[in-house]
Amino acid sequence: MIIAEQKPIEEILEMLAPHKKILLAGCGACVTVCQAGGEKEVGVLASQIRVARQEAGNPIEIIETTLTRQCEPEFMDEAKDLMNDVEAVLSIACGIGVQLMAQTFYDKPAYPGLNTSFLGFPEEHGVFTERCAACGNCVLHLTGGICPIARCSKSLLNGPCGGSQDGKCEISKDVDCAWQLIYDRLKALGKLENLAEIIPPKKWITSRDGGPRKIVREDLRI
């Protein structure tokens, strides 16, 4: 899922400075699960903004809502009526949600309340780890199910660099060397011979380099 973190509160306050009445919109999907932008965070953030603005002698009115998902145009309807009354929306969804808000409610500013961080999973309550870089050209079948793009600090495709020591990456002893993990897993699977095969230079065109990506599923589209 998408992992996000709340923006520093002072940044949020600065964005909202010109406004007296806003909609604060959470999202019920990934950011709820990663505890950054669900219904609970909407309440807490709204209180924080109100208290700060009250203290500054410049009160703000905040309408609170949480959409089922902010990443589907259909759910934008849930905010339609509320948007009529406000000057702007602060969305604490991922970047997709903020943009869909901006696109749907074209005449009002949409501000991001979160920094969308990466694609990952919760290791435990409160600990999230990146697993996928959405590069668009998966090599997991060659690398023992461990992604060298997202998990190797240098995104190397053919074995570790010289900075791998005791199974850890040279950038930090808290980071596992992805190639060590790949080696261990392939060994466990009895498929070490995979490593003998050179993975050719990767087509990065499917990654960020080719401009905004889009997938069209003609089979689903009809």
Partner: protein
């Protein structure tokens, strides 16, 4: 501006904070009238939303009375509460408010004296600020 009789919300764990409050009352100790006491089944039930809501509604300060570390009936509820308080204190500071508006206070059930002292200390901090 903080009034002479500040409004303080005390979220009290039923296992420690609440008995300590009652102990303080039974000893006839001086507690401010502006004190509002909310009992919770565990300090860990003092959710971030409650704490912020109290300030939002106009409380001058929020205190969380929970069990000492290593003595929570629900293993680590008290630590959760303390972490939430620390998180909010950081946020308050960043928005230009005194972090002393939210404090975490571990207490034992039979420590009414400490309860009253901590509340008084908070009142003094608020008035001094």
């Amino acid at each position: 501006m903080v009034s002479k009789n500040p409004k303080i919300v005390a979220f009290c764990c039923e296992e420690s904070g609440m008995p300590a409050y009652e102990h303080a009352v039974s000893l006839g100790l001086d507690l401010p009238d502006g004190l509002k006491v909310v009992a919770l089944p565990c300090g860990g039930k003092a959710e971030t939303g409650y704490l912020m809501k109290a300030l939002d509604e106009g409380a001058d300060a929020v205190m969380v009375f929970a069990c000492y570390e290593g003595n929570c009936k629900y293993v680590r509820g008290n630590i959760r509460a303390e972490k939430r308080v620390n998180y909010l204190r950081e946020r308050l500071e960043k928005i230009g408010l005194s972090p002393e508006k939210i404090v975490f206070c571990p207490v034992a059930p039979a420590s009414g004296q400490r309860f009253a002292e901590l509340v008084q200390r908070e009142v003094d901090t608020l008035l001094g600020a």
